[in-house]
């Protein structure tokens, strides 16, 4: 590693002072210090000084790509869809670089900016989730990614919203929770149509993230008010993790009716994997399960599936 002589550094500092912001020489700016260090790192091969306003930067040779040539999007909450952004550096020097991701409304992307250190020859791979609300008109949209002078256009095909013929009122409805043990136990897993406890830990069920604290809650908000008269809760119950050892022991079922929450069912002392709570149907805007205890002790809330029906 060649080490730049202090004389050369001094010369650079003096040069930078002339071009730097006005001020006493003692008051070194970030730009000056950092630029000096970079020069040292390069062993005396002076690069252009991007950090100093007015100086030309070396052109970055960034690359943009994706793993698919188009993205198909179902306009429902919790849909897992998107693309892998491939953000590369074809230049001979490492850089820190930014890629901006623009999605036309009402599409949403999980990240609208990806910034990273990119060594020479390296390609960063980042998963970008793409979403669309239920009301999104089906058709073709375009997501645009740009980084430096590079641009990538990615077609997005928005499908018609799926038809829910299951009678289960929570399917395709937005879900939220007091906390989520991410990435493997999202709230979405509790309304994905998968009741199978052997799939536990693979995003098909909800586990909160506040160990040792109850209550927790899991909530579904309906697109429009619907009559709800029955709530089925499937807590964790497999050969490895039986409900009597790991499942929920107690919870309240609440409906949001006319803007206020009402408790419509209470479950206590449960050791079963599946509990159906029935009650006089009410027209609700949201459904919430407030968890109060686990058969494991004061640990976690675990819900494999939550379903709601009119009767």
């Amino acid at each position: 590693m060649p080490i730049l002589s202090s004389t050369a550094v001094g010369a650079l500092v003096r040069a930078l002072r002339r071009t730097g912001p006005a001020g006493a020489p003692r008051r070194r700016t970030l730009a000056v210090i950092a630029a000096v260090v970079m020069l040292v790192t390069l062993g005396g091969v002076a690069p252009a000084l991007a950090a100093v306003p007015g100086k030309a930067a070396p052109a970055q040779q960034l690359t943009l790509g994706s793993d698919v040539d188009h993205v198909t999007v179902d306009p429902v909450p919790c849909a897992v869809q998107g693309f892998q952004l491939r953000f590369g550096n074809a230049g001979s020097s490492a850089v820190y670089a930014d890629a901006f991701i623009d999605a036309p409304a009402p599409l949403t992307v999980s990240r609208s900016l990806v910034s990273s250190y990119l060594p020479s020859g390296y390609t960063l791979k980042v998963q970008i989730a793409v979403g669309a609300p239920r009301s999104t008109p089906p058709g073709t949209y375009t997501i645009t990614v740009h980084a430096g002078d590079q641009q990538l256009s990615l077609p997005v095909q928005v499908e018609p919203a799926p038809v829910n013929d299951t009678g289960n009122l929570v399917r395709y409805m937005p879900v939220s929770a007091s906390s989520e043990n991410l990435p493997n136990y999202p709230a979405c897993g509790a309304v994905d149509g998968d009741r199978d406890s052997t799939h536990w830990g693979t995003t098909t069920g909800w586990n909160d993230a506040t160990k040792g604290t109850f209550p927790d809650w899991l909530q579904v908000s309906f697109d429009q008010p619907v009559p709800v008269g029955r709530v089925d809760l499937y807590t964790l119950d497999s050969a490895k993790y039986p409900a009597a050892g790991y499942g929920l022991s107690a919870w309240d079922v609440e409906l949001q009716v006319g803007g206020s929450w009402q408790t419509v069912a209470q479950v206590r002392g449960n050791t079963a994997g599946e509990v159906s709570s029935t009650f006089a149907a009410q027209t609700a805007t949201a459904l919430r399960v407030v968890t109060l205890g686990s058969n494991e002790g004061v640990t976690y809330s675990r819900v494999v599936e939550l379903e709601a029906y009119t009767s």
């Binding site: 950092a34 991007a50 490492a94 900016l113 990435p183 506040t210």
Partner: protein, 532 residues
């Protein structure tokens, strides 16, 4: 500070390390090629107050301190809501909080490449005194921060006070402990790691159960530079954390979560390809630097020299360690394990030979009464007697016994330097006598280890958990376990150290009172914990 090392050993060491490590890796281009496209300070009005993340100061020297801010008018938006070009920021340092006597001032440049952070190394200050600082841009004035320089080299100092804090998982609860820490009158806050946690955060914000949902962009784990920056912005949205920074200089180091849970060197938790993890580490290190009151240069690539030393006259020296960057992978698959060959493999590194030598040589040359080690993970032996078998934390010094043994041997030789290890990581307050032989409670005590509990990680906590009691039962050198949230205040005089363990009873809502749950005293020249 030792006279021969004056005036700036940390800076000189930083330069040397940078050459040997980073320089060998690759040559770096500095800019992202945007700053030159616009003249600095282009007249685009900012979309709001840019000082949402507060101000901070740190790394105090006798004549200097770093003052920090980051411009982020919309902290959760791309680029923090800033235009994509460099902008000038004015700064002032005064001897009074009304800025009647401004002693230093200037202009710094906030650049997109560094997320518009500003790190000014303010030089030419007087030793051992308070200063006030602030920033200004486009008519926006920052909050006023208070800071303090270190005492002069060789100066006799009657009293110093340090706070020890760590582990502040944002979704685990409110930073009430920081609100109380902000009201302490300390010379510096030693923050020993896990400033952020990399995990995705749910809309409800965990135990905070926030009224406004946490934005969607926080659901994924932090793994790229933009995402780490978001995480810091969210953490610094807490007014109590900002207050703690605003009141005193911080001297920080990182542990694992600033990058990824239990990473080791270039080994990720799941042993991702090293090529990929190197990039992630580089982005995480850069984001850490951007958000801490650290001196330039910023990290350029996957390596950054963070271990460094601060001297507070003749009374104290603080050796800041980095036991993440240079360590070998955890033995036997990590976690708590009985004794195993990997744990004792002499070829495995922890702090690394270079850092060990720097530490012990420096402590040997120290002319200060108390020599603190700002350390991440527990250094003393800690046996979780699981099923009657001695069981050790593979992620702590116990998981790397060769280096642990060398360091403890070294500290034993420096017993007269009054070693005081301050530690984080475990979300529990511990107080320990460091023994010459931990298996023999009657062996000589060579120093003390004071483990601060977490600021928030772990939620409300308990006084003593089952595991905590287990530790007490099997580690006779362990004199305190408490698993509430809080921090330690370490008061130093030439004759005595007083450690006050402070804690709050809950953090799932704001407003908890603070209390001192235990105090210990250590006599200078006679290592060991005494009741106080």
């Amino acid at each position: 500070m030792t006279p021969d090392a004056f005036p700036r050993p940390a800076a000189r060491l930083a330069r040397r390390r940078f050459l040997t490590v980073t320089g060998a890796a690759t040559a770096l281009a500095f800019g992202v090629g945007v700053a030159q496209a616009h003249s600095a300070g282009a007249a685009t009005p900012l979309p709001g107050d840019p000082f949402t993340l507060g101000v901070a100061s740190g790394d105090p020297l006798p004549d200097a301190v770093v003052i920090w801010t980051r411009l982020a008018p919309q902290p959760y938006e791309p680029l923090g809501g800033m235009p994509y070009n460099a902008v000038p920021v004015q700064w002032q340092v005064a001897t009074d909080e009304w800025f009647r006597h401004v002693v230093r001032s200037g202009s710094a440049t906030a650049q997109p490449e560094y997320s518009y952070s500003v790190h000014v190394d303010v030089r030419g200050l007087q030793p051992g005194r308070h200063y006030w600082y602030r920033f200004k841009i486009d008519g926006h004035l920052s909050p006023v921060g208070r800071t303090k320089t270190a005492p002069a080299p060789g100066q006799k100092v009657d009293r110093l006070s340090f706070a020890v804090a760590s582990c502040q998982s944002w979704p685990d609860g409110y930073y009430t402990a920081h609100a109380h820490l902000a009201a302490e009158d300390v010379d510096a806050v030693l923050f020993v790691g896990d400033y952020i946690y990399e995990y995705g955060i749910s809309a409800a914000g965990g135990l905070r159960n926030t009224t406004d949902p946490v934005p969607d962009q926080f659901r994924t784990e932090a793994d790229t530079l933009d995402r780490y920056r978001l995480q810091y912005a969210l953490y610094k949205s807490d007014p109590d954390l900002r207050a703690a920074h605003q009141n005193a200089p911080w001297i920080g180091t990182w542990d694992d979560h600033e990058v990824q849970d239990n990473y080791a060197g270039l080994y990720s938790r799941n042993l991702d390809p090293i090529e990929d993890f190197t990039v992630r580490r580089a982005s995480a290190y850069r984001a850490y630097w951007e958000h801490m009151p650290l001196r330039t240069p910023a990290p350029q690539g996957p390596d950054y020299l963070l271990y460094r030393r601060f001297t507070f006259g003749r009374l104290a020296e603080v050796n800041v360690l980095d036991t993440r960057q240079y360590r070998s992978d955890q033995a036997d698959g990590d976690l708590w394990k009985p004794d195993n060959p990997g744990r004792n493999d002499p070829a495995r590194t922890f702090a690394g030979a270079q850092q060990q030598r720097w530490l012990l040589d420096g402590m040997g040359r120290s002319q200060s009464t108390w020599n603190l080690l700002a350390n991440q993970v527990v250094m003393s032996r800690m046996d979780l007697d699981a099923s009657g078998t001695a069981t050790y934390n593979m992620d702590a010094w116990d998981g790397y016994t060769a280096e642990q043994g060398r360091l403890l041997d070294g500290l034993a030789g420096l017993r007269a330097r009054n070693p005081v290890v301050v530690t984080g990581d475990v979300h529990a307050a511990y107080a320990m006598d460091m023994k010459r032989d931990f298996a023999d409670p009657d062996s000589q005590t060579i120093g003390v280890e004071l483990v601060g509990t977490s600021i928030s990680s772990g939620g409300n906590g308990v006084d003593v958990s089952v595991n905590g009691q287990n530790f007490l039962d099997h580690n006779p050198h362990l004199k305190l376990v408490n698993e509430r949230r809080g921090y330690i205040v370490v008061d130093l005089t030439p004759a005595e150290l007083h450690a006050s363990y402070r804690a709050v009873p809950y953090i799932d809502r704001t407003g908890a009172p603070i209390s001192t749950i235990r105090k210990f005293a250590v006599e200078a020249g006679n290592p060991g914990l005494n009741p106080a």
